[in-house]
Amino acid sequence: MEVKEIDMRGQICPSSLLTALREINANKTALRSGLLMLSFLSDNRDSTATIPESAANMGYGVSVVKEDDSYRIDVFAQPTEMEIRNS
């Protein structure tokens, strides 16, 4: 799976959310098919709530990890119904 990193450090919400949404919209097909994962770097704490919530509402899986001076918000394809049942 390809990982595309987007450095948003310095941006605050809602600008960071708009940037994240723009990237998610632009990479919708690759994201949905599981070929791509978007990895957003942000130092804005609000973004760790707004981006995951919006991405989850759009049907994506999200994980947030605290790194040294920022947060890494990964957005990726959610497992399919069949994968969930088989897991």
């Binding site: 605050i12 919400c13 959310l17 707004t50 919006s54 759009m58």
Partner: protein, 336 residues
């Protein structure tokens, strides 16, 4: 005069240009305001803060098209909701099929005890009117009363917020196994309760009849003159009758401390253990002769038959029925 006219015309053109510029600025201001207002409205729906002017100036606002971005995001949300609804519908159908296929009556109650959902089996178990069942309280529909019964499973679950199992709930002479589970919201409040009813009337009735027959059997064995004993595979006594106790001189409370070999005369123990092994393999022994040992050490010659009962291939207990041999009869020692 000519200069005056020209000045007048120039002024008019300049004024017109100024007026047009003002109009265009006002239009652009309105457009930017509209974009900000609509973007903020959508962002608020997304659960975030409005855009501050210092974050995005007017030119960048128009250039970045935030309405388009949020609209595309909403399109994905709607697509996802559509998929989610389809999956929920399928899950609902699956649950309905499961609920209909099981032999347990199920009620889904809200926190005010009103029936929200039920399966076919509950209508078969209780005389319920399907047309008016939804919205009725469980108390009215199932118990047929407007007051809460003392042993109400729903009340117990609402009080403890924990699952509850009532193994023998009796309603109109019928017996039920009632299992209840609370459904909680994210604040831990009970929003719904699921009650599952299994009728156990025939099982309870069968158990009662079995107990009655068991008691009759025990009475018969207790009162016959032959010696009766039931011995478990570890040699403990499961049952001995009155004739046995009188013959060997033991009191009822002493039986539990005894083992089978304690009441066999020493010279007969080896043979008895061989008999015991044969019985454990499922064979029945007829005309067994042995010597029992009474509490005061007296040897008593007896003859009888023994068999062993099994459950799932495992021995449960041996059942021996003996009579005392009168003097002159051949005992095992005499044989040897």
């Amino acid at each position: 005069m000519k200069a005056f006219i020209s000045k007048l015309l120039g002024d008019t053109e300049e004024t017109q240009l100024v007026s047009e510029n003002r109009f265009l600025r006002e239009q652009q201001f309105k457009q930017v305001e509209y974009i900000r207002r609509k973007t903020n409205q959508l962002l608020m729906l997304m659960g975030t803060l409005p855009i501050r002017p210092e974050e995005l100036d007017d030119d960048t606002l128009i250039e970045t098209d935030p309405i388009g971005t949020v609209a595309d995001a909403f399109a994905q949300i709607l697509e996802h909701e559509k998929e989610l609804n389809e999956r929920l519908r399928m899950a609902h159908d699956e649950i309905q099929a499961i609920l209909s296929s099981i032999g347990v009556g199920i009620l889904l109650l809200d926190s005010s005890m009103q029936i929200q959902m039920y399966n076919q089996k509950i209508v078969e178990l209780f005389p319920l009117n399907k047309d008016s069942l939804i919205g009725q309280t469980c108390c009215q529909a199932v118990c047929g009363t407007s007051t809460l019964p003392a042993d109400c499973t729903f009340t117990r679950i609402m009080e403890t917020r924990r699952p509850y199992h009532q193994s023998d709930w009796v309603q109109s002479g019928r017996h039920f196994d009632v299992a209840g589970v609370p459904i909680k919201n994210r604040f831990g409040e009970v929003t719904h309760v699921v009650l599952a009813y299994t009728e156990t009337t025939s099982r309870v009735e069968t158990e009662r009849r079995l107990r009655e027959r068991e008691q009759i059997c025990l009475d018969v064995f207790e009162n016959i003159s032959d010696v009766v004993q039931c011995v478990t595979p570890d040699g403990s006594f499961l049952f001995v009758n009155r004739a046995w106790r009188e013959l060997l001189g033991y009191l009822p409370h002493e039986i539990s401390a005894l083992k089978f070999w304690n009441i066999i005369a020493p010279e007969c123990r080896k043979e008895c253990m061989e008999h015991f092994d044969i019985l454990m393999h499922g064979e029945r022994l007829e005309d067994v002769r042995t010597c029992l040992l009474s509490k005061d050490g007296q040897e008593i010659a007896v003859a009888g038959q023994i068999n062993c009962s099994f459950s799932n291939g495992k021995p449960i207990a041996t059942f021996g029925l003996f009579r005392q041999l009168e003097a002159g009869h051949e005992t095992p020692q005499a044989k040897s």
